[in-house]
Subunit: 233 residues, 2 copies
């Protein structure tokens, strides 16, 4: 496989039938329209050897892992997103947005792709520094993933035509909020020319500055009595 020179990973979030299909009780009505742009982004990523992560929700049948805030809608609606939606070649996602050999699948129990999942561990192992987000819905799963990514020191890039909200007003407001805290916005068309995140060099400069700092991280005393040795325990 070609080397991923971008230090990036593409996260495709919750693009599964239960959130897209008009007949699903959990449907996000604007999600269907972004499928072509998401497919374009996935194809671009694969062509660049950027690892692709399909991050999806799967619920246990007895509801023990359904968010309390979503339980009633899930229960009333026939308990979608059951264990049968997992697995290689699953038809529970639109064509073009199903894993192929080399892709990853992350099952997440909550909004954020990072919340109590193995995603961060794998991204570190792959030396990923920038996460590129697409999927549904912008104010919830995209946004919580973006803030967790910031908190874990990732650079964040959002493919703005590859994510959706229930109204255009909500979409615009959420993208602006995320841009204000440092997210880079890009279209799926621009992503075809993507080589490296603009913020990558800024991050490296900060890490080098912290490393070179002569300032002690915490106040401390040099007196011998303050030094903990094994004997003091």
């Amino acid at each position: 496989m070609r080397k991923n020179t971008t230090k990036s990973a593409l996260l495709v979030i919750d693009m599964e039938d239960a959130f897209i299909n008009k007949n699903s009780p959990l449907c996000n009505p604007m999600a269907e329209a972004i499928i072509p742009a998401c497919v374009r982004a996935v194809n671009s990523a694969r062509a660049k050897s950027i690892p692709v992560f399909f991050v999806k929700r799967v619920y246990r049948n007895n509801g023990s892992d359904v968010e309390l805030t979503r339980y009633k809608r899930w229960d009333d609606g026939g308990r979608p997103l059951g264990p049968s939606s997992i697995g290689e070649g699953s038809a529970q996602a639109p064509e073009g947005l199903r894993p192929i050999r080399g892709d990853y699948t992350i099952i997440k129990p909550r909004f954020s792709a990072f919340f109590q999942t193995e995603l961060d561990l794998i991204l570190r192992r792959l030396q990923v520094r920038t996460v590129i987000l697409c999927g549904t819905a912008t104010p919830n799963c995209i946004r919580t993933t973006a803030y967790d990514a910031f908190s874990l020191d990732y650079n964040v890039l959002i493919l703005q035509d590859c994510c959706s909200s229930i109204t255009q007003e909500i979409q615009v407001a959420n993208l602006a909020d995320m841009a204000r805290v440092g997210a880079q916005l890009m279209t799926s068309a621009q992503f075809e020319d993507y080589q490296e995140a603009a913020a990558e060099k800024n991050i490296q400069a900060i890490l080098e500055k912290v490393e070179a700092s002569a300032i002690a991280p915490e106040p401390f005393s040099d007196s011998q009595s303050d030094v903990r040795s094994i004997d003091n325990w």
Copy 2:
């Protein structure tokens, strides 16, 4: 101490001088205006024996724990929020928003009050089911805390006149987004009559329904060969 019959806790987030004072490089210009409402909320909570958590940001002097997205502004601005802002009776917070005996202080390294802090452990020990949020700023620290709280199965109540954004438009949009995923909105005046969160009974009903469910959580086979015993490892 009187028993906390509300199963709630009040979280006062980032109401410290470095985010409030007009001369601070990290100032949120709207934060000062909400001080009186926050003080009112803190006093109401103490009167009801609702535990009060002052959640605050403190940075190590060498910048090793400053968010990458905020590093430059922090560094250029004289590295505020150093270790000296911690501690009993610290004057780094407005009067009325400093811990007194019985309150908690949580130091958080990132936006969310839950992100890699001991907050969730303490709330569980105190049998808290509802978190009541106030502080600054709504789109970042309040919102990430709200989503993490939902993810950890807490009920979320936001004191809307006790949190602020850089514009009224951002404030309204963010409160609406959070209400849409289940946050209850309330004013500091209404909070004076607060006895129990409206969603509390709904949560209990869901927990009982999950407990009573005859549906197996996961598909499995009853055949003996599928049963793992220590001998099979």
